[in-house]
């Protein structure tokens, strides 16, 4: 798949993750943030991993980040995907140890450090946040 095509696998939202998918559905990237220590948490958690506070609020992020790593599947990673298929990890600007997984809209892997920005791709009943390259100004 590329970032403009739906994925053959659909996320199954649950009580913990529903706010994430409700946000992507309206074109927002929101993650939990601890109201006690200010750290973001991902994947969704019931307690802050840094200070164990149970008070976390879903906060909107800019969706800007950099490529942390990338890999290229030579064969489709699962039925319905095409190959080669590139997957990237993206470090978010707000907190670089928060790393999101994304498919990549090109057949070759981007270099570490490349700038990216989130986009939103409808996928079944949900909307996937997919990171795409930021073209040079």
């Amino acid at each position: 798949m590329t970032s403009s095509e739906p994925s053959p696998v659909v996320p199954a939202r649950d009580a913990l993750t529903a706010p994430f998918w409700s946000a992507t559905a309206v074109g927002e990237l929101r993650l939990q943030r601890c109201t006690a220590c200010g750290r973001f948490a991902f994947p969704p958690t019931v307690r802050c991993r840094a200070c164990r506070s149970s008070v976390l609020e879903w906060e909107r992020l800019s969706g800007d980040g950099t490529i942390h790593s990338a890999c290229t599947y030579a064969a489709p990673p699962a039925p319905g995907f095409t190959a080669p298929h590139v997957v990237v990890l993206v470090q978010l600007d707000e907190q670089p140890d928060i790393v999101l997984t994304s498919s990549w809209p090109a057949p070759s892997a981007p270099p570490a450090g490349a700038r990216v920005r989130v986009s939103f791709v409808p996928n079944g009943d949900e909307t996937l946040p997919v990171f795409v390259p930021v073209s040079a100004p």
Binding site: S7, V9, V10, P11, C71, T72, V87, A112, L128
Partner: protein, 367 residues
């Protein structure tokens, strides 16, 4: 410190590429061999711990692609005091078995791990839905196995300048070691650098030979109290063990420096794991283990002879149980032509970075 436990029986089946018979029959063959090795009978077993999940993404059904303690207990007519399973690699089960015998709750605990090669291969989802944390990865095409390790290795390459030759050195030393392991799938198949470099990518930067392969086979161990072990033909005393996010703490618990370990079995479902574990154990600083390996550290006679049975990369994906078997045999002095001389501490470290078990075996009990 000591855990108060020892392994006194080891049983293994041949490792085959495909399942030619029931996974339950495979498990029972390993159990029979382990009991015979320990010199005990079925009725002596009063504890059983299974390792109840398939690494292949299959249906996860007892008797189909996994073997639970309940299934073994029922099929063999056992009446153990304790029967349970762990959902981790087999090291966690051995740690629990040690605790049961040390606490006096059981006299003989069997730990059994059977794996079967899925007929239709690996599937990250059976229903087109991605549940739990996988909902943030699998829809993007990141599969639970190789993808995350390819990403981690690419990061390592970018940070520290490691190369494909570094990975080949791990694969190569293990493939050569496997010639002395009668269970190893690749025991008679050397691998040249050209073959390695020209192998197809599975998930770049990892190629076919950076991955272990699905196999069918089983290993069973008999665990008893250290005070009982002397009555058996052979014993590997579990000097220290830990399971969870920081397995390396077992070395500190036992006041053992890593340079007092003579032989190591480090889980290698994918070849980069070996570098990860060497750095976790402090054998090399972060980013420096490829240089150490290039200097021959993993070889017989090297700084830390490692995966002396060939590792999963050569033997097949027994999901850590091959590593534990080899660590036990090295401590018992029963590793045949693979035996490292002068073993006082033989370790097995199996798992994934955030959840692994470290076991330190010794030929003699200590206090």
């Amino acid at each position: 410190m000591t855990t108060g436990a020892a392994v006194v029986g080891v049983g293994s089946t041949p490792v085959t590429r495909r399942a030619e018979r029931s996974i339950v029959a495979v498990a029972v063959e390993a159990i029979d061999a382990a009991l015979a090795d320990a010199g005990i009978g079925h009725d002596d077993v009063d504890g059983c711990i299974g390792v109840a999940y398939s690494p292949n993404g299959g249906p996860q059904v007892a008797g189909v692609d996994q073997v639970t303690s309940a299934l073994v207990t029922h099929q063999l007519g056992w009446r153990p005091r304790v029967s349970c399973d762990v959902f981790a690699m087999a090291g966690a089960a051995l740690v629990q078995a040690a605790a049961l015998v040390a606490a006096g709750m059981c006299r003989y605990v069997v730990v059994v791990r059977a794996v079967v090669s899925a007929v239709d291969g690996f599937r990250p989802t059976s229903d087109g839905l991605a549940w739990g944390d996988a909902q943030f990865t699998v829809p993007h095409g990141l599969t639970p196995g190789i993808g995350r390790h390819a990403l981690a290795w690419q990061r390592y390459v970018d940070q520290f300048g490691a190369s494909r030759d570094d990975l080949f050195r791990v694969v190569d030393v293990q493939r050569r070691a496997a010639t002395a392991n009668p269970y190893a799938y690749w025991r008679d198949t050397p691998l040249t650098r050209d073959e390695y470099v020209n192998a197809r990518w599975v998930c770049e930067p990892l190629c076919l030979y950076d991955c272990d392969m699905p196999v069918t086979g089983a290993v069973a161990l008999v665990v008893t109290g250290a005070d009982q072990a002397a009555g058996h033909a052979a014993a590997a005393y579990l000097t220290a063990a830990a399971s969870g996010p920081e397995p390396e703490r077992a070395l500190g618990d036992a006041a053992i420096a890593v340079d007092d370990v003579q032989v190591a079995q480090l889980y290698d479902g994918f070849s980069p794991f070996v570098f990860h574990w060497l750095e976790r154990l402090g054998v090399a600083p972060v980013g420096q283990s490829p240089r150490l390996v290039a200097g021959g550290a993993l070889e017989r006679g090297g700084l830390l002879p490692t995966n002396t049975f060939g590792g999963s990369l050569s033997e097949g994906r027994l999901h850590g149980m091959g590593h534990i078997r080899e660590a036990v045999l090295q401590a018992m002095g029963r590793a045949g032509e693979r035996q490292i001389t002068g073993v006082r501490h033989s370790i097995a470290l199996v798992g994934i970075p955030e959840d692994a078990a470290l076991m330190v075996f010794s030929p003699e009990t200590s206090s």
